[in-house]
């Protein structure tokens, strides 16, 4: 998302948008929190007290310590430890990083596929358009989680276990992207069909400018702000979907902790009274999804008041 954001930022990051953000406390706090958490997650290597990928840094004697406890060797665990004696805070930071990575990639892939198909279908129409839109209808009528599950299931069947574990991350990204591309395609298609009829596009076509050039230099920029709005809301959804898949044990393998798989582990220890193992990652997931959502809501209203119901 941030990648798509940067080149066009100077075009519509106008001062009134910034001012609107400043006058909306909910959006501002959400944006700051979301940014803060994103930075913390991306900087997990530096910020986390313990590297959870390094087994030597986990101490099995310190397993399942409650929040605020001090370990056998004097390590302090502000949020407690997990069943393998890993510091929860560190695990959560690394977990959020994985979730974020999957979420951002999925949104990026979904947007890339959706925008490309939307542009092509909207511009050229015809049989291709009809076929793609029917396929989109089918995708839309099935719940995203089911599509993601099915794709993951097929991947597991085709690949053997070791191969699957190695490419589990991209599989999850593709599974999630497959269930969210439709929205981009439909929106961009509609906008393209509107834009295509405008005089400047006709003029460009008459003067012999190629279709590809028209699509990229003229039409694409006009579709970016709705795409950005969809992407923001989708980021929250994608992260929640990833967490759900990992919780079900079909997403990211347990060797690579994501928030979902942390919660899955925590769920098993719920009845032992070790609530923090599930609840802390859960709360982090919730707060992150909520802030991204609230920011997305604000963005939608700020960029296009007409879109507001």
């Amino acid at each position: 998302m941030s990648g798509a954001n940067a080149p066009v930022a100077s075009v519509w990051w106008r001062s009134d948008l910034a001012r609107s953000l400043a006058t909306s406390p909910v959006a501002l706090i959400s944006a700051l929190l979301a940014c803060g958490l994103t930075i913390a997650a991306l900087g997990a290597d530096v910020l986390a007290p313990v590297n959870v990928f390094d087994p030597r840094q986990a101490n099995i004697a310190d397993a399942r310590l409650p929040p605020g406890a001090t370990g056998l060797f004097g390590d302090s665990y502000p949020l407690g430890t997990d069943p393998q004696g890993r510091d929860m805070l560190s695990a959560m930071l690394y977990g959020l990083r994985t979730s974020l990575l999957v979420g951002l990639s999925a949104v990026f892939v979904a947007a890339a596929i959706g925008v490309a198909l939307g542009l092509i279908c909207g511009y050229f129409g015809g049989l291709l358009d009809a076929v793609v839109m029917r396929v989109a209808d089918v995708f839309l009528s099935f719940p995203p989680i089911l599509i993601a599950l099915l794709i993951d299931g097929v991947a597991r069947t085709v690949l053997d276990r070791a191969d699957h574990a190695r490419i589990a991350l991209p599989v999850v990204v593709i599974a999630i992207a497959a269930s969210y591309w439709v929205q981009y395609a439909r929106t961009v298609r509609t906008l393209t069909m509107i834009e295509r009829k405008k005089d400047y596009v006709l003029a460009a076509r008459v003067t012999g400018v190629g279709a590809g050039r028209i699509l990229f230099t003229h039409i694409l920029p006009n579709t970016l702000s709705p795409v950005l709005v969809i992407a923001t809301v989708n980021l929250a959804l994608a992260i929640l979907t990833e967490a759900t898949l990992s919780f079900l044990g079909v997403g990211i393998p347990p060797t690579q902790p994501s928030l979902g798989s942390l919660i899955r582990i925590g769920n098993e220890f719920l009845f032992s009274g070790d609530w923090w193992i599930a609840i802390f990652p859960g709360a982090l997931l919730f707060v992150y999804a909520l802030t991204v959502n609230l920011f997305g809501d604000w963005l939608r209203q700020a960029l296009n008041p007409r879109l507001d119901r």
Binding site: S141, P143, L150, D152, R156, T157, T244, L270, L285
Partner: protein, 322 residues
């Protein structure tokens, strides 16, 4: 009539497409021969099995055979459970059906009245609270709701069970948990978890529909006719909100079906969802293929039901349909 034929055609098309995906999955994903005779079988054994399974026939013949068997409920034997897939699904279906219906009941029973309330009293404290909560609720994944409910009501308070279906009664063709206290108690938390998210959706939908209809001309005219408030709200406004509501609820049924997988995992509810998760983890292709077809069939039936109910409610649709 034409309308109905077109809808029936569409439904058949979707089912056939699902059957095709299901067949491709069944036939080409993973090697059925390997799964039957094992990796170490000889070339002759393999060839014999291939011939016996009809895998040498043209694809179209195989597909027809697949569809023909599917119609009779034959999906082969599960790799993981070594039982006919149809039997497995038959055993698990009642649990999922009861959970799904209970969740929809929760969602409709709470969502519709709350949505009406928030539309009729748009500035009330309860309205504002509910709207804020539903905004926050969007960021709460279903499985997390389940975990928190288990933590509070099972672990801390010890009021309700968190696992399984409780005691079930076998009716021969159906096992139900609705006839025993423990079965009903076991249903509460999973149904709440599954229904809560749908409830907020339905509430918001009812609210926006009602707000729009209450602003419409015919409601203004009904007010100008001096109709009493209950007649206005229920006979006129709510009735008009029903068509979109039924459509959305139909669509949401699909989501409930999907999320029952999640809820069944959280609560170890012995339904289809749990079965499917295992099927995915163990690449149990026959089971997956059958589940896919079952989902498509359920969706098709729900769409049909939505069309019929809407035709009953709205005379304009009825006229189109006949």
């Amino acid at each position: 009539m034409v309308f109905m034929l077109i809808r029936a055609g569409q439904t058949a098309g979707v089912l056939l497409a699902a059957a095709l995906v299901s067949f491709l999955l069944f036939r080409f994903v993973g090697d059925p021969v390997n799964n039957i005779v094992g990796q170490g079988a000889s070339v002759e054994e393999r060839a014999a099995t291939r011939e016996a399974l009809g895998l040498n026939d043209p694809a179209i013949v195989q597909f027809s055979r697949f569809v023909g068997r599917a119609v009779q409920g034959e999906f082969g034997v599960s790799y993981r459970f070594s039982q006919p897939v149809a039997d497995l699904i038959g055993q698990r279906l009642p649990a999922t059906a009861e959970l799904t219906l209970a969740a929809m009941l929760v969602a409709l029973g709470l969502g519709v009245p709350l949505g009406m309330w928030t539309a009729i009293k748009p500035r009330g404290v309860l309205t504002q609270t509910l709207l804020t909560l539903s905004l926050i609720g969007v960021a709460l994944p279903t499985f997390l709701i389940g975990i928190v409910l288990i933590l509070v009501f099972s672990v801390w308070l010890g009021w309700l069970p968190a696992f399984g279906r409780g005691a079930v009664t076998n009716l021969g063709w159906w096992t139900t948990g609705l006839l025993t206290t423990s079965g009903l108690r076991a249903l509460i938390l999973p149904a709440l978890t599954l229904g809560l998210f749908q409830m907020t959706l339905i509430m918001r939908m009812v609210r926006s529909e009602m707000l729009e209809i209450l602003r419409s001309d015919h409601i203004r005219f009904s007010r100008a006719r001096g109709l009493r408030r209950p007649a206005l709200i229920y006979r006129h406004a709510f009735r008009n909100a029903l068509t979109p509501l039924v459509t959305i609820v139909g669509l949401q049924f699909g989501n409930v079906f999907a999320f029952s997988i999640v809820v069944e995992t959280v609560f170890q509810w012995p339904g289809l969802g749990l079965l499917v998760i295992q099927a995915i983890q163990f690449a149990d292709v026959p089971l997956l293929a059958a589940y896919l077809l079952l989902v498509a069939l359920t969706f098709a039936l729900i769409n049909l039901a939505v069309d019929l109910v809407n035709a009953v409610i709205d005379p304009r649709i009825r006229q189109e349909a006949l």
